[in-house]
């Protein structure tokens, strides 16, 4: 059965506090922290982008897997901030992790679920035998216009997984998707910042797709919420995943280990995958993990994962240590790092 062989994560070191963003726009920091369920977010260095984040995460995944680069047959990176409009991020990642030329790549894009879409394709490649191992994941330096409520959450980071049939640490028992044409959040061609439908991003978008995909998955594999040790949902803020978990019948204990959003914000294509990486960092053999992503536009990919006995060899608590390894920066420095101030 195809599954996760190894994982690697990367979170930039810089953080900005909600208080510092609120001060720039005259917002009430305490109310915003309460409303969004986050206290600070990660910010990329001035020299970091989706390609550099994906490279660092992929290098860690490859090192942890102990595989030879020759065994990787494909590289699929999902993002909504690929550095080039035309010129694949996957070629930069493939070369930087030491692959030669006998692999395939293409970039994925589906708002915040591009990374899980890449993982589904990777699992299909592994199951079909078209490649022994495939690198798939999501990374973003999330964009938000200054003053937009999104600015409090749009963060930077990513997680990359090696998917294969051998040496699996978490089996992908099942994965399926729920997709519709729902314009809740978008970015038009050549626009710098995304637009969104405000409250419309909630009920008909995030909540509908996540609940439908998760219910479909649990019906398909015959599970109930209590059968899972951990559940990870897409994390645009701290509030949505907590509420969707409750609606579906999951507890705070099941979701807490994967709720990285509270400390680093929404890393878009990296969001639910960094949550999964945090859970894999502590999971034990035999435990069951539910993962449901959400991408605006709109769709959700749901995964039923079962942890194997090999997991301990790969665990480094990397997500937790990166969350705690931080340098706070001011709002003007944040504007410089994210290219909003020359």
């Amino acid at each position: 059965m195809a599954g996760i062989v190894a994982w690697g994560s990367y979170i930039p070191r810089y953080r900005i506090k909600v208080e510092d963003i609120a001060a720039a726009h005259g917002g009430d920091a305490e109310q915003i922290k309460l409303g969004l369920g986050i206290t600070e977010k990660s910010v990329p260095g001035i020299d970091e982008d989706t390609a550099t984040i994906a490279v660092e995460a992929a290098r860690r995944a490859l090192k942890s897997s102990k595989l030879s680069p020759k065994e990787i047959g494909a590289v699929y990176i999902g993002s909504e901030s690929h550095p080039y409009a035309v010129k694949p991020t996957g070629t930069i990642v493939g070369t930087a992790i030491g692959l030669s030329n006998d692999y395939t790549t293409a970039d994925f894009e589906f708002a915040c679920k591009a990374g899980t879409a890449a993982m589904q394709v990777a699992a299909a490649w592994a199951r079909s035998g078209m490649a022994d191992y495939v690198i798939a994941g999501g990374a973003d330096t999330a964009q938000a216009a200054p003053g937009d409520p999104l600015e409090y959450t749009a963060a930077a980071g990513g997680a990359v997984f090696i998917i294969g049939e051998e040496n699996v640490v978490a089996e992908i028992n099942q994965t399926l998707s729920f997709t519709s044409d729902t314009p809740d959040f978008w970015r038009r061609k050549e626009q710098k910042y995304p637009g969104h439908g405000g409250a419309f991003t909630g009920e008909p978008a995030y909540y509908r797709h996540i609940t439908e995909a998760t219910k479909m998955l649990m019906k398909d594999v015959g599970t109930k919420p209590e059968d899972y040790d951990y559940a990870v949902f897409h994390q645009p803020n701290g509030k949505f995943p907590a509420r969707v978990a409750k609606l579906l019948g999951f507890t705070e204990e099941q979701i807490a280990p994967g709720m990285v959003v509270r400390k680093i914000g929404n890393t878009y294509s990296g969001s639910s995958l960094l949550g999964l990486a945090a859970v894999l960092d502590i999971a034990k053999p035999g435990q069951r993990i539910l993962l449901t992503s959400y991408g605006s536009g709109a769709g959700s990919d749901s995964f039923d994962l079962i942890v194997t006995g090999r997991i301990a060899d790969r665990q480094t608590k990397s997500v937790e240590s990166q969350i705690n390894d931080k340098v706070y920066i001011s709002y003007p420095k944040y504007l410089k790092n994210t290219g909003k101030l020359a």
Partner: protein, 137 residues
């Protein structure tokens, strides 16, 4: 830097691939085609691990000014920035930026490790050059 030159330097910039002399085993970074010690012409690729020590460093607070915006090669860095001479564990020395730290923490002799970063953008329309920088470890 022209696109072909950027492309040619990808192995060096991305993965610290230098050269080794198959005769006298001397290691080189950046790439050399002729061994400086024994004159051998059959040099082979050698991948450096990316760990080393700071030999010396400087912090630039006033870089060369470009008031007319004539320079289209825009380094991906803020001012001030730190540049160090680093002695790799395998021997050769190179010059690179030190990132992700408070400048007060940079000292001669401290250990550093390689990170993958944007080096330069060739204007908003040009290619992005990626490569090595280092951070304290």
């Amino acid at each position: 830097m022209a696109v072909p030159k950027i492309w040619r330097k990808i192995p060096e910039y991305y993965n610290l691939i230098g050269r080794q002399c198959p005769e006298c085993k001397e290691l080189y970074f950046p790439v050399r085609d002729v061994c400086k010690k024994c004159g051998c012409l059959e040099m082979t690729d050698y991948k450096f691990e990316g760990k080393g020590q700071i030999v010396t460093f400087t912090i630039t607070r006033t870089p060369i000014s470009d008031p007319e915006g004539e320079n289209t090669e825009i380094p991906a860095r803020d001012v001030p920035y730190a540049v160090a001479v680093i002695k790799l564990e395998e021997g050769p020395m190179l010059t690179a930026e030190i990132v992700d730290c408070n400048f007060e923490d940079i000292e001669i002799g401290k250990n550093v490790e390689v990170v993958f970063r944007k080096i330069m953008e060739h204007g908003a329309k040009g290619v992005i050059q990626y490569g090595y920088k280092f951070r304290l470890c």
